[in-house]
């Protein structure tokens, strides 16, 4: 590993510990006696210290050592957690974060060491305006990278095949390979964009700190509630909305939430509330910030806009509230009565509006005087490579998952062989045990597309009988539908229940048929699991008497968004003596069908019973 690689690892792991400390600090504020949190911070500080020592970053090492010492004392009961201490540590961890990500940054540690020594004499903010020249980093699951590598390898192989087929002038084969390459490219594109997604929670702890620090400074009491776990955003989008969100939150605390005294006077709780929620709506993420403060004075906004020359008095008077709030996007418009230290440093809401617009999003504000305001930020969850396009974010196309393409004739043939192998090895045998007679089978992989399923060689009177749907999900997803002629179903029930005549499909008869389907599916999955090593979880059967097409459509919907691309393998099982016929329709989406074929390549064939 080169030194540079070590550094990357140091930065990514280091930042992870910084994040852990931040999270623990936030919690510690509410539960100052929580031993686990103290331990967590101690451990992270300790690890960071050792990491910095290995990298020979003396200052980072020193700062960590000091933090570690403080928590060591707390662990021993020689010292205790106070609010001022949390603030002091937060400040130190903030600077630590900068030191870790930028090794060129020269920091004067002494004020930080001072506040650690005496947290109750907090020194004023150090103005640290750093513009990091580094490209933002991102943490990615190994498996995501692995599949990226696999796609690239596949692409290289396809490329080699392509060269060969061109030299040999095999145009049909070339076309096939081009098709394959197209698929790979679209997968590659999808995967690489997916990698850029980061969970939104990552930035939540920054918000908590901001609200805490700001409200403390203003002697206000504010509680921030956040909800949006599990939402993922493109790293660029996340970066683009972080500042606007911080800005809005600052504004909420500074201008929105009233002082505790004021709140008490008007019958509100002393503690103000701000909630931040993120939710996904299709391809968009909507982040809403709501406060229960005094709301925005729309008249004042209008007055300011008139004074600013943005609109005329007449325009202002006839302007509806909704439009008037959009005026906040005009540069230089601020409704704060006095410019405070917290917000209104010349950068106003216009920055928020612009920033959002630059990533193809927008801002909407709702407000009610005396009751508070809500800011809705809407952003696309994913962007096409926005870094390359610089600030030209217009006409960004949202991307979607690659459409699974249909199987080509070669693949169809291969799938047929695989299915034949599985059915012959176990499924037909299982039915033969059940029926007490030998069972023949015939397999057809239907032309792609649910629309072509009419090619199933069953006559119309067979279709409206009973269908049983079983689905297995796991490494690969298959759904199997059965269709049996009513008369055959009755005969099967009779056979299994040892009745002389055909047995009515009452509860017991139905159960017998269901069990047949269960057993056939089970044996098929057994063969497949043996052949591929895939794991499959079976769901319980869904028995319905209806027409085959609707049963199959239901399955197809489960499998894929592109219904017409579902691959159906029709397995016809016929009792050699009784002539009883069962159609087993195995359905997959093309991606899963290919998965099955690829897996079959590396494993030995199934051993026949």
């Amino acid at each position: 590993m080169s030194e540079n690689n070590y550094r990357d690892l140091y930065v990514s792991e280091g930042l992870e510990h910084v994040e852990k400390i931040h999270e623990a600090l936030t919690q510690l504020e509410n539960e100052p006696n929580n031993r686990e949190l103290v331990d967590q911070i101690f451990r992270s500080a300790h690890t960071l210290k050792s990491m910095a020592a290995t990298m020979d970053y003396k200052k980072t090492q020193n700062l960590c050592k000091n933090i570690e010492n403080i928590f060591e004392k707390i662990r021993k009961g020689e010292s205790e957690v106070t609010n001022n201490l949390i603030t002091a540590i937060s400040k130190c961890v903030d600077i630590l974060e900068q030191m870790i990500s930028d090794d060129k940054k020269d920091v004067n540690l002494s004020p930080y060491l001072q506040i650690l020594e005496n947290p109750d004499a907090l020194i004023p903010d150090q103005k640290d305006t750093i513009v990091s020249s580094k490209s933002p980093t991102i943490r990615v699951k190994m498996s995501e990278l692995d599949s990226l590598v696999t796609f690239v390898e596949d692409l290289m192989i396809a490329n080699m095949k392509m060269e060969k087929s061109i030299t040999e002038k095999k145009s049909n084969e070339s076309l096939e390979i081009i098709n394959e390459m197209n698929q790979l490219i679209s997968k590659l594109q999808y995967q690489s964009l997916k990698i850029r997604l980061v969970p939104m929670d990552q930035i939540f702890s920054r918000f908590t700190r901001l609200v805490r620090d700001t409200s403390m400074k203003l002697n206000k009491q504010v509680r921030l509630k956040m909800n949006g776990t599990g939402i993922e955003l493109d790293r660029t989008v996340l970066d683009a909305i972080t500042e606007p969100l911080l800005h809005i939150l600052r504004n909420c605390v500074d201008h929105g939430i009233e002082s505790p005294e004021e709140r008490q006077k008007i019958g509100k709780t002393q503690e103000g509330k701000i909630s931040l929620t993120a939710q996904r709506q299709g391809n968009k993420i909507i982040v809403a910030i709501q406060d229960d403060g005094k709301g925005i004075d729309v008249q004042k906004v209008k007055d300011l806009a008139v004074k600013n020359g943005a609109i005329s008095r007449n325009q202002a008077d006839s302007m509806p509230e909704e439009k008037a709030l959009e005026l906040l996007g005009i540069p230089g418009l601020s409704t704060a009565e006095k410019i405070s230290d917290i917000s209104g440093r010349g950068v106003g809401m216009d920055v928020v509006f612009n920033q959002l617009k630059s990533v193809g999003g927008n801002v909407k504000i709702e407000t009610k005087k005396g009751f508070g305001s809500t800011f809705y930020l809407t952003v696309p969850a994913r962007l096409k490579d926005s870094e390359k396009s610089g600030s030209e974010f217009e006409n960004l196309e949202l991307i979607s998952a690659p459409k699974p393409t249909k199987l080509n004739p070669k693949e169809t043939e291969k799938l047929n062989q695989i299915m034949h192998l599985y059915i012959a090895s176990k499924t037909a045998g299982a039915l033969s045990t059940l029926f007490g007679e030998s069972v023949n089978h015939k397999i057809t992989v239907l032309e792609n597309g649910i629309d072509h399923f009419d090619k199933v060689k069953i006559k119309s009177d067979e279709i409206t009988m009973c269908g049983i749907r079983l689905d297995g999900k796991g490494d690969t997803h298959l759904e199997i539908c059965y269709t049996i002629k009513l008369i055959d179903a009755k005969n099967i029930a009779a056979k299994l229940l040892c009745a002389d005549d055909s047995y009515e499909l009452d509860e017991l008869g139905t159960s017998a048929i269901q069990e047949v389907a269960n057993i056939l599916t089970g044996s098929f999955f057994n063969a497949m699991v043996d052949g591929t090593g895939f794991r499959v979880q079976l769901s319980t059967p869904d028995f319905s008497r209806g027409d085959l097409k609707s049963i199959i459509n239901k399955s197809a919907k489960n499998l894929s968004d592109q219904e017409n691309n579902v691959v159906i393998t029709d397995v016809e099982l016929v009792g050699s003596d009784s002539g009883i016929k069962i159609h087993m329709m195995i359905m997959q989406n093309p991606t899963d069908a290919r998965k099955l074929m690829n897996k079959q390549n590396d494993t030995t064939p199934v051993i026949t019973n």
């Binding site: 299982a430 045990t433 059940l434 299994l496 229940l497 509860e507 017991l508 008869g509 159960s511 017998a512 269901q514 069990e515 269960n518 057993i519 599916t521 089970g522 044996s523 999955f525 057994n526 699991v529 794991r535 499959v536 079976l538 319980t540």
Partner: protein, 126 residues
């Protein structure tokens, strides 16, 4: 006829499977009393109520599945004799079942001669 006179609890959501198992148990004289349950919850309830000598337990059932019911039964009586019944020779769930305390398993479709052998073997165990 077997010299054993014991109680067997059959847990399966499919009435057909219960019928088949009942038939096998009866025709081989394996039990003097057969109790049925059509899902995991009823299975555990009936186990508590009747204290059977042996339980056959389907793995794949809606709501509370066989593995969950098995765990509950083993909690009630760690010496309980449970034989799993499955259509899928899913090695993982069978292994899990054995780990949780199941004595053995049979695979559907039943081989009418081997099921009594398995049940008998388990009944003879301590």
């Amino acid at each position: 006829m077997s010299e054993y006179s014991c109680k067997i609890l059959i847990v399966d959501d499919a009435s057909f499977m219960r019928t088949v198992l009942k038939d096998i148990v009866k025709s081989n004289g394996l039990a003097s009393e057969i109790i049925e349950a059509n899902d995991g919850i009823e299975g555990v309830k009936n186990f508590q109520k009747y204290q059977p000598d042996l339980v056959t337990m389907d793995i794949n059932m809606p709501n509370v599945d066989g593995l969950q019911a098995l765990k509950a039964i083993m909690k009630i009586n760690p010496k309980a004799k449970v034989v799993m019944v499955t259509a899928v020779e899913n090695k993982e769930s069978v292994q899990d079942a054995i780990k949780f305390g199941a004595r053995d398993y049979v695979v559907k479709p039943f081989d009418r001669s081997s099921v009594p052998l398995v049940l008998n073997k388990v009944l003879r165990q301590r």
